[in-house]
């Protein structure tokens, strides 16, 4: 409210300042004018770029052991030193990041799709379809996210596939709830009645008329969900339930380095910091994009 504190005569003739404020708000919506979003993008570009360019940035292998060069400190040959098996920490960091980011970006898609489909069905058809799907949601929601994911991966056995299955099985409920709520509101709109009056099938009305109107909300949620997913992947790695060794993974690196915390703090601390930075970057980008996509702001 730009009028507060302005002189009284600014009241009726305030088209100038008001228009300026409006222009400023509009400009504020431009993506490159949002400092938080820009900061997030910069962080992500650097991190993802480094992960993608891993083979160019380092000549070491992330898994080949060299026991004669174990536990070296940071130096010219090994930028961040080596671990107890003589593997270059910087190299493992890059390859670990590469793997974890790839899994995170893929794993966010499955719950998104599953939850959107089930949520649409529940919201559109109602009745017993809704009852069955929403009771399933209640069951999943009854457990904390990590407890269920860890239990599922434990049962399925460590590995990339288990991570996909576990996070999908637990993560879809949030999308289902969001989409169901949105569909419940949207299906009361006249354009849905009009589509029905046009003799279109339920499937077509859901897919072509309702989903494009409601998918934004699920998309906004996915932006923050990916942060949770990458933390889950790292947590599983830390617990030894992630990608089996010797493949580099941030979680297992943190765990491996713990034994040498008093002498070689960088083995644990640096991967931990990288996780924090990646999470921060994804959060900033997620929030920024959510603000841009959120209608009516």
């Amino acid at each position: 409210m730009s009028a507060i504190g302005a002189p009284a005569d600014a009241g009726p003739a305030s088209t100038g300042p008001l228009a300026a404020a409006r222009a400023q708000r509009r400009a504020g919506r431009r993506w490159y004018r949002q400092p938080a979003l820009m900061a997030g993008i910069v962080i992500l570009v650097i991190v993802v770029g480094m992960a993608l360019a891993a083979p160019l940035l380092t000549s070491y292998s992330p898994i080949t052991q060299n026991l004669s060069a174990s536990l070296l400190g940071p130096g010219a040959h090994h930028l961040l030193g080596t671990d107890q098996l003589g593997r270059d920490t910087f190299t493992r960091l890059l390859y670990g990041l590469r793997l974890d980011l790839r899994i995170a970006f893929i794993v966010v898609l499955f719950p998104f799709c599953l939850g959107t489909v089930l949520g649409s069905l529940a919201g559109y058809f109602g009745g017993w379809v809704d009852a069955v799907i929403m009771r399933l949601v209640d069951i999943v929601v009854a457990f904390p996210f990590y407890v269920l994911v860890i239990a599922l991966v434990f049962v399925l056995g460590p590995g990339e596939r288990s991570i996909y299955i576990a996070i999908t099985a637990v993560g879809w409920v949030a999308y289902a709830r969001i989409i169901r709520g949105e569909i419940l509101v949207a299906k009361r709109q006249d354009y849905v009645t009009a589509a029905r009056a046009g003799g279109l099938s339920s499937l077509r009305i859901m897919g072509r008329h309702l989903l494009p109107n409601v998918i934004t909300q699920a998309f906004i949620y996915a932006m923050s969900d990916i942060v949770q997913d990458i933390l889950a992947i790292v947590t599983l790695g830390y617990l030894g339930l992630g990608i089996p060794p010797p493949t580099a993974d941030l979680g297992s690196m943190i765990n491996d380095g713990q034994n040498f915390l008093s002498t070689h703090w960088q083995l644990t601390t640096i991967p931990g910091l990288v996780v924090v930075v990646v999470g921060l970057g994804l959060s900033l980008v997620g929030d920024g994009l959510a603000d841009l996509f959120r209608p009516g702001r």
């Binding site: 006249d190 046009g198 003799g199 109107n213």
Partner: protein, 335 residues
């Protein structure tokens, strides 16, 4: 094809389950629409006009349903059909134009694709051919520069243009009857006239029948040949439009024309109908209009009032319709 009557509704009952009880939204309505004809259905808000339309089209809200009666479209009873079979008729056989052209168009879909969707689904047109069809329809309903407007979204259109789009969608599969739910209520008067002329011209050209629901009497007089007056979920009067509006045979119709401005019915002042519409959960016994009626007698409060045929193909539900004659004469007698 063949029969003279395109749509016949027989003794239609629609009930709505609500928290206050069962609402008898439509209670024994019967009418017919001749092929190529236009029927106007008038009445106050909540008189069951829209519910009748939605029942015909089979797009009632989930808590409402047809409890008895027949809806014969070209001789086929829609009430008996399965929903998938009715679905195939919506579009190529009958279509609907809604009151709010703003909300009846999908906000995130391009105009052209919304018009092209019907032909694609029902007529088996390819994407390209359906787009051609959409452009042709946009030209027919008078949307300027259709090639450019094809890719526009509904919010880029004015109210009148949106209603033209709705008409194009309704016509897209060459239906035999179009159901209009107050199509001009949300428009400016000048635009309203354009849209009405367009609608009547297009329907005449292609022999499409119309059911026109509205509470705007001059509009009915402009568009329709026949009129059906609804009150409290029932039909109270039916007949040729000019006869009914200039010479009503039911006190409710008389009340409507007396309370409508700029209509040819002669009177020196607008006279509102006293009271408010009846509750359809527990409607008054006897004639539903009797609590608001000046002419009501004891028998109005007790006996059922079905439509009775009058000379000249008209019908009224009023037991004492002769009293309207005196009232009309008195209105005309005034200077």
């Amino acid at each position: 094809m063949g029969t003279e009557t395109i749509l016949e509704v027989r003794d239609l009952h629609v009930r709505i389950a609500s928290r206050r009880g069962i609402v008898r939204a439509v209670d024994g309505v019967s009418f017919e629409v001749p092929r190529g004809g236009a029927l106007g259905v008038v009445g106050e808000s909540g008189s069951g006009k829209s519910m009748t339309l939605r029942a015909i089209l089979g797009v009632l809200p989930p808590e409402a349903r047809v409890t008895s009666g027949q809806i014969l479209l070209d001789g086929v009873d829609l009430v008996q059909l399965r929903s998938s079979e009715v679905n195939r008729l919506r579009g190529p056989k009958m279509s609907m134009i809604f009151q709010e052209p703003m909300s009846a168009l999908n906000p995130v879909m391009r105009i052209g694709r919304q018009i092209a969707e019907g032909p694609q689904v029902h007529l088996g047109y390819s994407r390209a051919r359906a787009a051609e069809r959409a452009l042709e329809l946009m030209r027919r309903v008078g949307i300027p520069d259709p090639e450019r407007r094809f890719r526009a979204y509904p919010h880029e259109f004015s109210g009148g243009m949106r209603q033209r789009v709705m008409i194009a969608i309704a016509l897209s599969c060459d239906p035999e009857i179009i159901l209009c739910d107050e199509p001009t209520t949300a428009l400016d008067v000048t635009i309203q006239d354009q849209i009405l002329r367009l609608l009547t011209r297009l329907c005449r050209e292609s022999g499409v029948s119309l059911v026109f629901v509205t509470h705007d009497l001059p509009v009915v007089a402009q568009v329709c040949q026949d009129i059906a007056v609804m009150y409290g979920g029932q039909l109270v009067e039916r007949g040729e439009v000019r006869e009914v509006l200039l010479d009503p045979r039911h006190p409710y119709t008389l009340g409507l024309v007396r309370s409508a401005p700029d209509f040819e019915y002669v009177r020196d002042a607008l006279v509102p109908i006293p009271g408010s519409p009846p509750s359809l959960v527990s409607p008054p016994p006897g004639c539903r209009f009797h609590p608001r009626c000046d002419f009501a007698e004891d028998d109005c409060r007790v006996s059922q009032t079905p439509l009775r045929l009058l000379p000249g193909g008209r019908a009224t539900a009023c037991l004492h319709y002769e009293r309207c004659l005196d009232a009309i004469a008195a209105d005309r007698g005034r200077p």
